[in-house]
């Protein structure tokens, strides 16, 4: 089975994917960067195996490009990227958004990552969750960045009350076991 990691740019999708891959497959998945849209193509890691409470779940993990409704090359300029490179990055990032949306028809389950320090009521969050649900794909909403003082997991949970919910810090690894248990119980 394949598990897609979805969410807006810079919510910690690749950090979480790396943490899961290191824990369960022994090596990271992709590069992490403070620059938005660092992941611009779908990254896949096969043979990621979880063994929890006597259950074994083997799957392919897919780290999706961040989904956004506007990709502005000017956002990259502040990171010292040249205009030409920024425009190229914007094009690739937009292609990544399209690819991520199209992959919704290919994944068997989804982790939907939300930055717990940000307002969860966004057009992207609501639309993507709606699209995944419309395909009857099992979803776990993951509130990430709980290690940061401004994290508000309650707000995330209240925003999307109908979904299975886990709060983690992909950066520190806090409550990753809780996430693994939720994945296995949901998908096995």
């Amino acid at each position: 089975m394949s598990l897609g990691i979805y969410g807006s740019p810079n919510v910690g999708k690749t950090t979480l994917a790396n943490r899961i891959c290191v824990d369960l497959a022994g090596e990271p998945m992709g590069a992490v960067s403070p620059v938005p849209h660092e992941t611009r193509t779908v990254h896949k890691k096969d043979k990621v195996t979880m063994k929890i409470n006597g259950y074994t779940l083997s799957m392919s993990l897919l780290d999706m490009p961040g989904i956004a409704v506007k990709v502005d090359y000017r956002d990259f300029l502040e990171y010292g990227i040249s205009k030409e490179e920024a425009q190229k990055r914007a094009r690739e990032a937009t292609r990544g958004v399209v690819e991520a949306v199209r992959h919704m028809d290919k994944v068997d389950a989804a982790l939907f990552i939300i930055d717990a320090t940000e307002d969860p009521y966004t057009q992207v969050n609501i639309t993507i969750l709606g699209n995944i649900e419309a395909r009857s794909i099992p979803i776990i909403v993951v509130a990430n960045k709980i290690d940061l003082p401004s994290a508000n997991t309650r707000r995330v949970k209240e925003a999307f009350p109908g979904y299975d919910f886990v709060q983690v810090s992909a950066m520190t690894g806090e409550n990753l076991d809780g996430l693994y248990k939720e994945i296995v119980s949901k998908l096995s």
């Binding site: 989904i67 956004a68 409704v69 506007k70 990709v71 502005d72 090359y73 000017r74 425009q87 914007a90 094009r91 990032a93 937009t94 292609r95 958004v97 399209v98 949306v101 199209r102 057009q123 992207v124 639309t127 993507i128 709606g130 699209n131 649900e133 419309a134 395909r135 009857s136």
Partner: protein, 183 residues
Amino acid sequence: MRCERIGFVFGDSLHKCVRCDRAAIIIQEINDGCPCGSKVFVFIRDDSTASPLEKEAENEKSNQVSVESPKLEFSLDANGKKDAVDASQEGANGKAAPPPEANAPQSIEPAASSPSAEPNGNGKAPSSYFARMTFTTEDVENIKIVTEGVFAVDVNALSKNPVVLKDEEGIYYVRLPFEQKKK
């Protein structure tokens, strides 16, 4: 020369008859027609009154002419005879640059109709216009803003992708699909 003929003007702008090149003196002439019988006038706008968009379009046009014309330029001598002048040779011979009048639209028109400048001649849109109108495999967007109020749509791509619009600056806007669960 131009000032002597200006009658009905807005600043330095004027309406010229396309047949006899005479400037309209009163606005009634534009309604009734030129004394030569033609009813078609072309409005020649003073640069200072052109909108930024028009100026940009004009700059683009003149830039393309200047890129394409160095190989072969045409000028009219006193007898109206058309001479082909190799601009690069002229430069090499150290001749003085032509007076500003030589860069006026009258001298550009023959150059634009030369084979090297054909894509821009005869009122055709510049090639960059068509480049914006067409879609390649490199393009992510399925809608392009060609110019203000003019859009190009890649219908094939629209049928299987989210709507992606790219504006003139290269900023992308994505309309995510919104599917609702079937009950």
